[in-house]
Symmetry: D2
Subunit: 273 residues, 4 copies
């Protein structure tokens, strides 16, 4: 595909030196690798190579949803791809899904979810903080997802006017305060997810879920490790992100039915040695 | 939504005691928790509760793509949700994506990818092993994804008749042997992913990618940890999956252009203490 | 070194098939690999090979403290070598150290610590449970460490008659209840360690330590991963122990001095991508 | 214990702001927290508090072997406490052990091992690089361990004049090149350890060990995670060391005896879901 005026391009030198920009005829980007003539990329194929004024190689990459998210404007910690991807895979999110999101933030998560469920599916997103709404809107527009996300500046504790949602994603400091509202909004056996950075949050959330008409409650954490894959000296990277968030999953079931206790984990000795 | 004859239902007691089955009027499932009268669920809402003949609680869960994958028929190790989800998030897979898959296996991955890219997007999947084709077909049909996946019993080393693919996923023992074929099939700056259980595979794949017209090469591993979230005694689970696979990512760029070396990781002392 | 009557020997076939036994002239061990003639090992060198009646190879290994610990008699979860070793390395435990242990259990930890600090150093170990005392005593005798550990059947909440200890190790469900007693027992700037399986315990312990005359408070967790190192197919093992315990470290300082807050971790974005 | 002229003291403000120094009457240390009057600590108890000229709290900590190692002079990556501690625990290192070390480096490892095995035990350490010898000597003297470590500037490939060693620790880029020399130096069933940062090294080392008269071959990796233990908001730290080294363990057995294959890991599905 050819780059056109108005297209976005990811100017990629290395994984730490890359720039996401909109292409206009006269744009030039000054970097410590030399000047990049963005206008000159018009008419070139994505995947091509240009050089800076200092002769450094720059690849013209067509930005994906991932690139837009990682380069999004933000005021708070975003939910990272490892967690976003697992939310999609674990809840069975798919084309056409109807999604309730509580806690829009900068809309990184909504951008990803919209890219999967569009065009028939939809994201209904709620946030009490009006400051985030503008940032969220800009990020969604840039990634081309604004049509599939309805932003609501509304306190979800007062209830949300969404019904029969397939999936509800809660990114609040106190997810246990909206379990009833979410229960009303979900379809029968619909999926619940809470994004919880601390162990105190998962403990409280899991405990309250049990009492509130949810089953199949599971809390997990994902760790991502980059590998230095080099001939004859392959090893994990020395630096690593130690933690982003925990995730709590559950399914809506009829209230008052008490879920059976999960079998306690066997703590026998076998295998531990 | 109401359960109908012919619907699938996940009969959920606990996370280790659950059964995925097709609903027919006379079906009864004999379990060590008592007999479950599957036929009696016709007309009930998903999310409802029934009881076994021994009075044990069973939730009626509407199966998601995730449930179909985890309960799929298989002869080989499947790619797990943590890895599938990250592939989607990292490559920017979305509604409408055109995907080349080399190594169909039991179609667990194709099922998930199809659920995202359908109905306009499509998966073109290749495998040399005819035995897997039948299993793959049955799994795709069960999950309702057969229309969005074309299965090809064909050796991809001879080239594949796919062009302008957004993403190529290679699940072979020797992914480095099909880099040229994949390069031909991908669009400019399209995404490459290899699923590699061993460190030797990521080393060889990453090394060959550098010479074959690919940039932004990154190898990672995801670890998933379940948490026992219980009031006053929250901790990680004692048992854990230690490893499933590594994943290698790259972007197609024009051949002969040599990608700049990634900056070597700083191995300074600071922070290590 | 030659095996003698009364020596211990580890009969090693593979890491999962091994037996630790005392050598007596007529002893024979019946295993599913055939019968092992233990008496016949008298006079042989450690490191030699014998065969079972079915011709299977068995190595004659001189048991180390590690082998005694892993094969010790126990009624509760023991502290594992990864954690024991880190306690020693992190506290600077060494030959001659004077150690207070609260929570003897089956004496696995005391066995290891004694092996380091003996003969001048000593372990003063307290437990309220008389049942453990007998097991602890047998395990210490078997490993040859009984002379260097004094077992006290005494409630440490009433205070302990130890002073100027270099290191105190607390393996109780509620380590925060003995912080004052331990403060009295430690020398100035002596090291404190608590063994805490849950996050709730580390939270409470760390919080109380700050108020009780301790500085340099650090909580950590160690994960051990076995690797399958095989030519051309090296990878981490599929199974892994997910969690054993957290460890909380601190140093005794004069009471009432308030330790400066540790700098909050920078939660900036850089590096996270 | 009172601080005296010539004592070492760790001036501890927070875990990132601490200084290890020798106490002399007139010494003053200028820091960005103000000036610390080191001379004024003479006669004070370890564990006491002083203040900088700007009123900042500084604790007077008696340095342990751990503190000396972490503050040691170095030109290369040192082996970290998590790995040192596990080497001690896994090999059964104890008071009196006779140890062969190949690869002295800056003697961080030798310092720790000496602190355990002294005074009857001993470390015989070999390095071909004369530059390290001086650094190693200074570090050992500072930590008070010089009498228990013999430094040999000698190429271990030519053989080492050590016999009946309990444990051999190899910290070379190519540990597989000294397996015969180490075999000669170890006692029967003595323990072998190799420190290997890359997976290529563990693969080669494990493969050669099998052919060279060693059994019970095991490769592992330790990950350390610090926890932010704070009331109501406990979670793992955001930053983490991703990798330091792998460790390969084995026991010397008689040559030509072929060790039985370890049972291949069961790769069944159960439990993986």
């Amino acid at each position: 595909m050819k780059i056109q005026e108005g297209s976005y391009v990811l100017l990629f030198h290395t994984s730490r030196k890359k720039w996401l920009t909109k292409v206009t005829p006269d744009k030039k980007i000054h970097t410590h690798l030399g000047i990049i003539d963005v206008g000159a990329t018009i008419g070139m194929e994505y995947g091509s190579v240009i050089r800076t004024t200092e002769g450094k190689v720059v690849f013209l990459i067509e930005p994906t949803t991932h690139d837009f998210i990682m380069k999004s404007e933000r005021r708070t910690q975003i939910v990272y791809p490892k967690d976003l991807g697992f939310i999609a895979a674990r809840t069975g999110m798919k084309n056409g899904s109807k999604i309730l999101e509580i806690g829009t933030g900068s809309a990184a998560a909504a951008t990803f979810f919209a890219s999967i469920v569009k065009p028939e599916g939809h994201i209904y997103s709620f946030d009490v903080n009006p400051d985030f709404m503008e940032i969220a809107k800009r990020n969604l527009e840039k990634a081309g997802m604004a049509d599939y996300v309805t932003l609501n500046h509304h306190d979800p504790h007062e209830g949300v006017d969404v019904r029969e949602a397939d999936i509800a994603i809660v990114d609040l400091g106190d997810p246990w305060t909206v379990l009833d509202q979410v229960h009303d909004a979900l379809k029968g056996s619909g999926a619940f997810v809470a994004i919880c950075p601390t162990m105190n949050q998962i403990e409280k959330t899991a405990t309250e879920l049990k009492k509130s008409g949810y089953a199949d409650i599971e809390s997990i954490e994902l760790l991502i490790r980059t590998m230095e894959a080099r001939e004859g000296m392959t090893r994990p990277s020395m630096r690593m992100i130690g933690h982003t968030t925990y995730l709590v999953f559950a399914r809506k079931v009829q209230k008052k039915a008490e879920a059976p206790s999960e079998e306690p984990e066997e703590e026998g000795e076998e295998g531990i040695e």
